[in-house]
Homo-oligomer: 443 residues x 2
């Protein structure tokens, strides 16, 4: 069974939009992308489903109302909801038909191109709308799928035994907090919590001193599965709707004191930032690559985590980046500085493996559930996806262009995640931005 | 600030119901209890909010419709929802007024007593309705608040170091899975998963061989808190709506292989069973007792986990029990056998401490969120709240009256949790039942 989305006319590199900004080389949202999001045109407006194109948001409901987009009644009804859960739960045929309709509407040759009277009704400048968390997150699960990240962190805490014996067998994950998933741009309050310095006899309660970001990819669940009915590898891709950028903010001092024996809790649950645009698996079709080739000597995945399709196409040719701008840099007009850039092809487990593993004991997933990949790091220093790794637990602070240094995040720091898919013969598509600025703790 | 619900006429031990079954000594649902739930009168019926009284369910919406129950417009609107979230989020005055109205309606002297024509419209036999998960669980968090349970489990896995250094400082908890919280009576499919025997070189994938229950109390969140705004101890009780019984089914073999370093995942997320009746904090007012008195030498709680009120009234005089009936016992008509009975007063952390800790870093709770206490055990063998403890990791199987033995659960076993509050000078109230039967794995 081959479930990978096939390439079709919507991926044609020759296809151009009649909206000029969408054709600028390097633009995140060319007509080949068509990511979904939820926006408010005014602060009190009702949330509406939109599609990003160039520097504009297409109001999907308005496009349906004026009759320039035709879809099944079922898809139309899902498009009228104030979040993407209904659309995410549509069977793949409905999603494909919607994508085809959107592509036609926004490509050169569309009758909409010349109908200026309609443009004001259907489009908003992206920077004038408020972008929301795109779905009601029923459950949020975070994984640990980068072996480079796991090895780095492990070697700090367990120098003799950096990678635990289960790592190459089990896609390690844990349940996160759904209520504190926030939209890009939401300020993040520095949490207070218990921490105990190694040399201290007792813990103290106060603002975290080791606040960190984690550069991750988030995957949104499409159709769900019933409780007690695992999703086999052969069907896993069909349950993925698309991806966003995800910042799994982490208070390392709180986490390291609390996490034994039941895992991270308050060290993670004060905020998780998600980027507003959901790039669909259909848009990512040209960027499917083989799953990470395990080094000789590593065990092959157990049969329930293996498939021919996954070996051949389970990977994603995605590059993820993180930048930081301190308050001083912002005052001086210094652009955010690149901290790391990592290749998602290095992930030890594919998204399909994470999903299939998640359901292997019978756990049910629902449309709009969110899976985090875990911090995306690579083998070199420039590919380390969090400050814990970059500053090696604070021992090697990094230098900023302002002359400041950072072991961990300071109040006023803004963290900016970006990402894109790029491959010969395909038009580059971007994931947009995931931003958050640290506010001082309230004591 | 004293937030504990005061005793009022609804707690008066002299108050009796005109429904005879509610006055039977030892009944779970006397007129002093009035727990809320959600039921369906027919398989295709719309879920409706009900209140248990004796052996009947009062249809709250019907009572509002016929005008024999008067509440504010806001409370009435919450009572029309198909789950309890709206009612849980009401300010305490609204909840108290509803309780007073229900108590009057169901007590001797109510005009309803003689109005037989209305009885059929307003009441259903409990055993004829389908009882549902009472709220949409936004997030489910499970704690580890019994020091006896933590010490027992710790000594199996770390004989030299049973209780980790953080235990007496941090109310240990982790995020669970909300999607797989199921109603009492739902059959539980034995999960498959990865496990590795200590002597094996590699893990294998197959049905869990160490399936277990955990006897817990579940607490439902009332009003929520905003992200970034912790709930101080002095306000914590006001954010608790009530309690149910909770069975945190656990696959010990899957859990022990996967849980390092990020905690339990597939070992727990295949099902969590909740009892249908939510006994309100108002109903529990007569059963408030001092928080557990820490032994000399234990550190006092840090100030953010301490309050005068909590020390005096933070505990609950609740007794929880677990029974088991194997398929063979069922065939022979042998009643379920008592496996353990534990006193909730032994819990090292109170519900208020769990809630306040949960929010201390800014994490937001929402009405209808669910907190599990963790397995409720005591110091003696008869008080061990799971088979892992009772059979000491399978080394000492327990004997059943059928001649069978159990190290862990077998297919066909039914686990039954019950609980009650009892105290001199108050009418005993019960929590109802939490049931689940194990189905064979689907291979």
């Amino acid at each position: 069974m081959m479930n990978m989305p096939a390439l079709d006319a919507t991926h044609d590199p020759a296809r151009r939009s009649w909206l000029p900004a969408a054709n600028v080389p390097g633009a995140d949202f060319p007509v080949q992308n068509l990511p979904f999001g939820v926006f408010r045109a005014t602060a009190s407006g009702r949330p509406r489903i939109g599609v990003a194109i160039g520097d504009r948001v297409l109001d999907v409901v308005a496009a349906l109302e004026v009759g320039c987009l035709e879809v099944s009644e079922r898809v139309a009804s899902a498009c009228h909801l104030p979040q993407l859960n209904g659309l995410m739960g549509q069977p793949v045929e409905g999603r494909l038909a919607l994508r085809e309709g959107l592509s036609m509407l926004l490509s050169e040759g569309s009758r909409l191109a010349g109908d200026r009277a309609l443009h004001e009704r259907l489009f908003r400048p992206i920077h004038e709308v408020q972008l929301l968390v795109p779905a009601d997150v029923g459950d949020y699960t975070d994984f640990y799928a980068s072996i480079d990240h796991a090895s780095n962190v492990g070697s700090m805490f367990r120098p003799d035994n950096p990678l635990l014996p289960n790592y190459k067998w089990v896609p390690i994950g844990y349940h996160g907090r759904a209520s504190s998933v926030v939209s890009s741009g939401t300020a993040v309050r520095r949490p207070q919590g218990q921490a105990k310095a190694p040399e201290a006899a007792e813990p103290t309660f106060g603002p975290s001193r080791q606040l960190d970001y984690e550069l991750e990819l988030g995957a949104w669940i499409a159709e769900g599965n019933a409780l007690g009915s695992p999703v086999p590898m052969e069907a896993a891709e069909g349950h993925l709707f698309g991806v966003s950028l995800l910042n799994d903010w982490s208070a390392r001092d709180i986490q390291s004191w609390e996490y034994q024996p039941l895992g991270p809790f308050l060290g993670k649950n004060f905020a998780t930032t998600i980027s507003p645009w959901v790039v669909s698996m259909e848009a990512l079709a040209p960027f499917r690559v083989p799953a990470f080739a395990r080094p000789a000597g590593d065990p092959p995945p157990l049969p329930y985590l293996d498939s021919e399709e996954n070996r051949r196409f389970g990977g994603l040719a995605l590059t993820l980046e993180v930048r930081l701008q301190s308050a001083r840099m912002r005052e001086r007009g210094t652009a955010p500085v690149l901290l790391s850039r990592a290749d998602f092809r290095r992930m030890y487990w594919t998204m399909a493996q994470l999903l299939s593993h998640h359901t292997s004991g019978g756990c049910n997933l629902r449309p709009g559930d969110l899976l985090g990949s875990g911090t995306v790091s690579g083998p070199s220093r420039e590919e380390r996806g969090c400050l814990l790794e970059l500053s090696w637990r604070g021992q090697e602070p990094i230098a900023l262009p302002s002359g400041e240094t950072r072991a961990f995040l300071e109040d006023g720091d803004e963290v900016l995640l970006t990402g894109f898919a790029e491959r010969d013969g395909a038009v580059r598509i971007g994931l947009g931005e995931c931003r958050g600025t640290i506010l001082a703790a309230v004591i």
